[in-house]
């Protein structure tokens, strides 16, 4: 089986090429995505318009509502559009289309309408782009019934999960996060789609379960060695899909370890960690050896100054401290 070493952006590009080659109903739209415009600001869509033509791969005006609206309409007519919203904060401009329409049309039509769109969007702190270019807003979308929220951490998952999103019969938001984009890995050429809603156990362990996703998984992985040195056996779960989330895998792990930390890059206040923590508390009360802990960004917009941005992100050191405190 052949494989190529690639980073997560290259994995996205590979998935798009594969999906478009396999299914002529797959179409792509977004700002600057065609090769005439450089194949996307990150290059994620490079080569698609040259290979598949300007009808199926369309650069758009800077009109986020119009982008998502066009994706929804084409989906209602049988296509599988992949829309790029350049940055996650810009989804705010298209929110009516996403949450009043894409997410709800199946239910509100009694199952007649199906909106198999994928919204790819980039975000994440670390590049000093500050408060309107870097928010992790997965909680916004997870709170709306009818949309799946996918947040991979590594090139294999970026490719395999994107393939699944594109073929999924429901709308998916696919979060590409700064902290996870440029770490390369071997990705099989014939990688099968990775099912949505299934977590991955990054490392097995017996003392503490850490639940994370997206770029925060990388920072949790960096905490594993110091924790092992401290004699703490950590089970790290990469949720991969934030909604619907893999309750079964998380509860099975915490039932085994009796301790849980949920770590995400999103703001902690009303963040997705709260839902997971309370589910653990409801289901496993009595089996827990310590209170469930949540780690997330402070209740603040993403800052610009590097010193502030560094403090904003949940660092590997904070993960280590939190886990050690739980074991104390």
């Amino acid at each position: 089986m052949s494989a190529k070493k690639m980073n997560s952006l290259q994995a996205v590009n590979a998935a798009l090429h594969q999906a478009m080659a396999d299914d002529d109903k797959v179409i792509v739209l977004g700002e600057d995505i065609a090769d005439r415009e450089g194949g996307g600001v990150t290059g994620a869509t490079a080569g698609l318009s040259t290979k598949f033509g300007d009808d199926r791969v369309k650069s758009t005006p800077i009109s986020e509502q119009a982008i998502i609206g066009a994706a929804i309409g084409a989906a209602l007519a049988g296509y599988k559009p992949v829309a790029e919203i350049m940055l996650m904060n810009f989804t705010a401009v298209a929110m009516d289309m996403i949450f009043n329409h894409a997410a709800k049309l199946r239910f509100m039509s009694g199952g007649q309408s199906t909106v198999p769109i994928t919204i790819r969007t980039l975000t994440g702190a670390g590049w000093q782009t500050a408060g309107q270019h870097a928010d992790h807003l997965e909680g916004w979308f997870a709170h709306t019934a009818g949309i799946k929220v996918v947040a991979p951490s590594n090139p294999v998952d970026y490719k395999g999960l994107l393939l699944s999103c594109i073929q999924d019969p429901d709308p998916c938001i696919f979060i590409e996060s700064a902290g996870s984009l440029f770490i390369p890995a071997e990705v099989p050429d014939d990688l099968a789609p990775i099912p949505l809603g299934k977590a991955r156990v990054v490392q097995e362990g017996t003392d503490v379960t850490i639940v994370s996703w997206s770029s925060q998984v990388i920072r949790c992985q960096q905490a594993l060695a110091p924790l092992a040195e401290a004699g703490i056996s950590v089970e790290l779960i990469d949720l991969r899909t934030v909604s619907p989330w893999d309750k079964e895998a998380v509860l099975a792990s915490v039932a085994k370890t009796g301790r849980a930390v949920i770590a995400h890059e999103a703001v902690r206040h009303f963040g997705p960690g709260g839902e997971i923590a309370s589910t653990i508390a409801e289901e496993l009360f009595g089996q827990l050896k310590a209170p469930v802990r949540r780690l997330g960004a402070p209740y603040s917009p993403v800052p610009f100054a590097k010193v502030l941005e560094d403090a904003y992100i949940v660092s590997p050191e904070r993960v280590v401290e939190t886990v050690k405190a739980l074991m104390a």
Binding site: R56, A66, G73, Y79, N100, R106, F107, G111, Q112, T114
Partner: protein, 331 residues
């Protein structure tokens, strides 16, 4: 505003078909309002009484394959598009036999078989989605057209501007049909809109724009014919501003404080239905008897649909877990 080209005159059959759609809308609206007043239906109702000519004329030029996206004041658009009335009534009554199994309701009916793809409760949101349906028609290599219906108020929301621009840049087979009834909810047109004619805004988006008397079937036919032909022939979008008036306020039961009694009375006195009926007879396109028979058939259809809808079972609470995703949510 561009001059209309010489569209062919409608045939007598087409004229009678337009009237059939108008009377079907009007009789159905009358039945809905009566049923609400009797307490047999509980629903928010945005009557389009007075606006019948617009969708009746456009629909007479559309096929089942052509699509529409409409808005909360849109039951007239659906009836004009020949949506069957039984599932329509079951839906507005919130019953399982409704087009949406009672999960959409009167502001959100969907019926793809008759081309009613989306009905939105959000002002302006019919337009971005209509563009996507039109893009799909282009990709399919089909001559299908899509109409986005909306009101004058929607021409001031961002979705209108983004949609017209994209449709023009992509040369989409879509027609933007503004049913300008003079009021954006309670706000008089001139207090919320920067131009005297919405059709002028088409200039800014590089497409033809026409202001039409939306209560005149002949003027509407000419404008509709041109816009639909243009879209079918791959020449791109058109903005049609169809001037009209709504007889029953923004939502049924509102007290119309924002309009004068005189202007409302004057509009009702110019009701296009009796005028068009008299004209059809006068021109020899129909007789009083033939139109009365047509109306009786329609009234029987409505009565049947009403009884069917109100007798249909209520949905099971299990429906809350269905259709959120393709796969049912576990209990």
């Amino acid at each position: 505003m561009a001059e209309l080209s010489n569209a062919p005159a409608p045939t007598p059959d087409q004229l009678v078909d337009i009237y059939r759609r108008m009377i079907r809308i009007e009789r159905n609206d009358d039945a809905i309002r009566k049923t609400i007043r009797l307490g047999r239906l509980v629903m928010p109702y945005y009557s389009a009484r007075g606006q019948e000519v617009i969708p009746a004329t456009l629909s007479s030029l559309m096929t089942d394959d052509d699509k529409i996206c409409t808005i909360y004041r849109g039951i007239h658009d659906m009836v004009a598009k020949d949506m069957p009335l039984r599932p329509l009534w079951a839906e507005i009554a919130g019953r399982v036999d409704g087009t949406c199994k009672g999960k959409g309701g009167p502001m959100h009916l969907t019926h793809p078989e008759s081309g009613v793809m989306v009905t939105t409760g959000i002002v302006g949101s019919s337009m971005p989605i209509a563009n996507g349906l039109a893009w799909a028609a282009k990709l399919d290599g089909s001559r299908r057209v899509t109409i986005a219906y909306f009101g004058d108020g929607a021409s001031n929301i961002g979705a209108f501007h983004e949609s017209l621009n994209l449709a023009s840049v992509w040369k989409l087979p879509v027609i933007f049909v503004c049913q300008n009834n003079g009021f954006a909810e309670h706000t008089r047109y001139e207090n919320g809109t920067s131009v005297d004619f919405i059709a002028k805004r088409a200039i800014g988006y590089g497409m033809p724009g026409h202001t039409v008397d939306g209560n005149d079937p002949l003027a509407m036919f000419a404008a509709a014919h041109e816009a639909i032909s243009r879209a079918r022939d791959g020449e791109g979008p058109t903005l049609l501003e169809c001037k009209t008036f709504r007889f029953h306020g923004h939502v049924l039961g509102d007290d119309d404080k924002y309009m004068t009694k005189e202007e409302k009375a004057a509009a009702i006195a110019k009701d296009p239905l009796p005028a068009f009926k008299a004209w059809l007879v006068e021109q020899g396109h129909a007789t009083d008897e033939s139109l009365a028979a047509m109306q009786a058939t329609i009234e029987a259809e409505i009565e049947d649909a009403q009884e069917f809808g109100l007798a249909s079972p209520l949905p099971s609470v299990d429906e809350l877990r269905r259709d959120v995703f393709a796969q049912e949510i576990p209990a």
